[in-house]
């Protein structure tokens, strides 16, 4: 049993952290989030140059990472700086492309930062249910014609290539009969772009007779989706961990500086005890992210239980850390000008990405019944 990072990952972490410290303060971040599609294309290219996109994928897919520990290292750093570039959509769509095979050329472009991709899976009524797919794909010669609505597609605003889930057989909520397609975001694809409240580019996407290329086997898309979601959850949880770390550090530091009644508020015991609880839960969060990351390539049931356990904790610990960070800061924590509120906002909103705390608690229980 070994909890340390190997040398490659330590270097990756240091490189990324140094780059972000130099180039990604909170003011710049707000600027990037205000750009078209909600991020800086220039930064995205630099990330590609530094090899950070490549770190999300294994060698078979043209990358040089792709293990749970790689995702953890990269996304924790991204979370510490609230990076708005589309790493999560890239990871999730890319994981499916890599898993399906045959998309090496596209993946190379993705890893080079030339092509933006996203996973268009959720639908207006699917909530967090992974198997709930109502979009329909029908074969027409060698092509597939897809119709349906995809909602809250993170990174969807920028993506020129979409990985789209659609039903090729079965009931609307059956795991069987979901297929995945690569769809060019042009003919038959209408996007309504917007920004999420925490500053990330997203889109509502309408598919009207859009044509797609089948990824992997027909009807067998669920497994690829689940694996992509697992990777996505490791990533977004590590990102949450990074943001929680900063929120906690800012809070601790604030209580050292801020005085009331003539003494630093960090000397007030009631706040001390609550910060102690934040620190304890932060360690729990780190452990849980490690458990999820460390099991990403293990048996499905082991993996998925750790994944759901982790995302459940992201919701509960995240809420505690975010709300305490604001509360202990007082009014300052509420302002746009000061950083901590933005960290809190991101932490809370991550609960709405890839399944919330209740969803994953229920899923964890259901997975336990299968053992």
């Amino acid at each position: 049993m070994d909890f340390a990072l190997n040398d490659d990952r330590r270097m990756l972490a240091e490189t990324l952290e140094r780059f972000l410290s130099d180039n990604y303060d909170i003011e710049k971040r707000h600027g990037f989030a205000m750009m078209d599609d909600g991020f800086s294309k220039q930064m995205w290219e630099k990330f590609a140059e530094l090899g950070i996109i490549g770190a999300l994928f294994d060698e078979k897919a043209g990358g040089f990472g792709g293990e749970g520990a790689d995702l953890m290292v990269v996304f924790e750093a991204l979370g510490r700086h609230l990076v708005v570039e589309p790493f999560l959509p890239t990871l999730m769509a890319g994981t499916i492309l890599a898993g399906a095979g045959g998309q090496e050329a596209l993946l190379e472009q993705v890893i080079n930062g030339e092509t933006a991709i996203a996973l268009a899976h959720g639908e207006p009524s699917s909530r967090y249910e992974l198997a709930s797919v109502s979009s329909i794909a029908e074969q027409s010669g060698k092509e597939w014609i897809i119709n349906g609505d995809k909602s809250v597609v993170l990174g969807g605003s920028a993506a020129t290539q979409l990985v789209v889930s659609a039903r090729t057989t079965g009931e609307a909520d059956s795991e069987n009969g979901i297929s995945l397609f690569l769809v060019e975001a042009t003919n038959g694809v209408t996007k309504r772009n917007y920004s999420t409240i925490n500053g990330y580019g997203a889109a509502e996407i309408k598919l009207e007779n859009a044509s797609g290329i089948l990824l992997g086997e027909v009807d067998q898309g669920y497994k690829l989706l689940e694996r992509a979601y697992a990777a996505g959850i490791v990533a977004i949880s590590a990102e949450a961990l990074g943001a929680m770390h900063v929120a906690t550090d800012l809070t601790v530091e604030y209580t050292r500086q801020r005085k009331q009644f003539g003494i630093p508020i960090g000397k007030f015991q009631a706040l001390q005890h609550r910060m102690a609880d934040m620190l304890i839960e932060l360690e729990q969060m780190r452990s849980s992210v490690m458990n999820a990351a460390g099991n990403l390539d293990k048996d499905r049931l082991d993996r998925e239980k750790e994944i759901s356990a982790c995302k459940h904790l992201v919701g509960t610990i995240g809420r505690q850390v975010a709300e305490e960070a604001i509360q202990i800061h007082g009014g300052m924590g509420m302002t746009w000008e000061y950083a901590v509120g933005h960290f809190a906002k991101h932490i809370i909103m991550i609960d709405h990405v890839l399944g919330d705390t209740d969803h994953h608690l229920e899923r964890y229980i259901a997975l336990g019944r299968n053992t």
Binding site: G122, P124, S125, R127, Y128, E129, S132, S151, V152, D173, R192, Y194, S195, T196, I197, N198, Y200, A202, E204, K259, Q260, F261, G262, F268, A270, L271, R319, E323, I326, Q327, G330, G331, G333, M334, T335, W336, E337, G341, H342, A344, K345, I348, M349, D351, H352, V353, D356, D358, L361, E362
Partner: protein
Amino acid sequence: MDLAYTDDEKSFRNTVREFLKEKLSSRLATKVKLGKRLTKQDMEEWHATLNEKGWLAVNWPEEYGGTGWSAVQKHIFDEECWAAGAPRTVPFGLNMLAPVLMKFGSDEQKAHYLPRILDGTDWWCQGYSEPGAGSDLASLRTSAVREGDHYVVNGQKTWTTLGQHADWIFCLVRTSSEGKRQEGISFLLIDMNAPGVTVRPIILIDGEHEVNEIFFDNVKVPVGNLVGEENKGWTYAKYLLTHERTGTANIGNSNAALEKLKAIALEQKKSGKPLSEDPYFAARMAKVEIDLKALKTTNLRILVDADNGAAAGPESSMLKVKGTIIRQELNDLARRALGPYALPFSSEAMEEGYNEEPIGPDYANAVAAKYFNNRKMSIYAGSNEIQREIITKTKLGL
């Protein structure tokens, strides 16, 4: 012991309900229910409507143009207003300045300012907090130095809610640095249009402009604008803190939020069934409903006691803490109920004029923003930490 409303109270509720049906415009009610941004004009319109009926100053005695209502009547009015989607009234003049003026102001001050609060001539804001004086209010440093028939005011106030709309600000200022810190504070009324007053917006994490910093640079304030005696301002401010208990518990607000939550949970589907039927979500909704039910009775017990002349104790602190916990839990459940549709946010969609198709359900846009905005509730008006201090210190006497 009889927990039922009397026939009079029931008929009062009907009267209020009919008034609201008739006089509250659906334009305003819709904005409130969808959580859209209210303009200054919206708020003024609603004040005027209430004032016309004589129902604006629910906490004032009749002699000053108030309603003279009992605690239970005020509670009913509050519940009905929230249920109907009425804007909340702006409390700074009505509920904060007015009681101080009535108790400590001169006859001239009362005669001049009180009617202007009612008829909307003056919009007031509050100047208590300073950057270095939050929970520790007595450490405030904005100074007022007497020069002839004027005070000259220098310093800075912060967290001034709706100060951007205000004509006047009532301030705690330091007029002496001798004795205890609390002893050199005075209560001063300052014209926001006086030379040397500057307003700087503070934008909150939900992007809203709601609070402000106010700067005073050699602002001349006539001596006649001093309320009560010089250096006694702390007493007046404290009087206000324990005097005003209606509304602290946020009952009407939480009632309305609970109804809205229930509507969302009924409409949102989880695996094809209403979210409200999900056992775990239903349990969390029921818990907060049960808490609110109990708080409603706690609130009424305290208000009725106060009507009967009970001395003010730490009760309003209890109402503040529990009331905000409940309100914030409702905010949390509402954002959670939305699922992924809590994420999209459009600032333009907060405006009345916006008529593009909403992203997701039409009630979704403001929900997450409101969750973040309402984090303020446990911070402002004496943070919940300060309230807990008050509660135990009263009880322990240590």
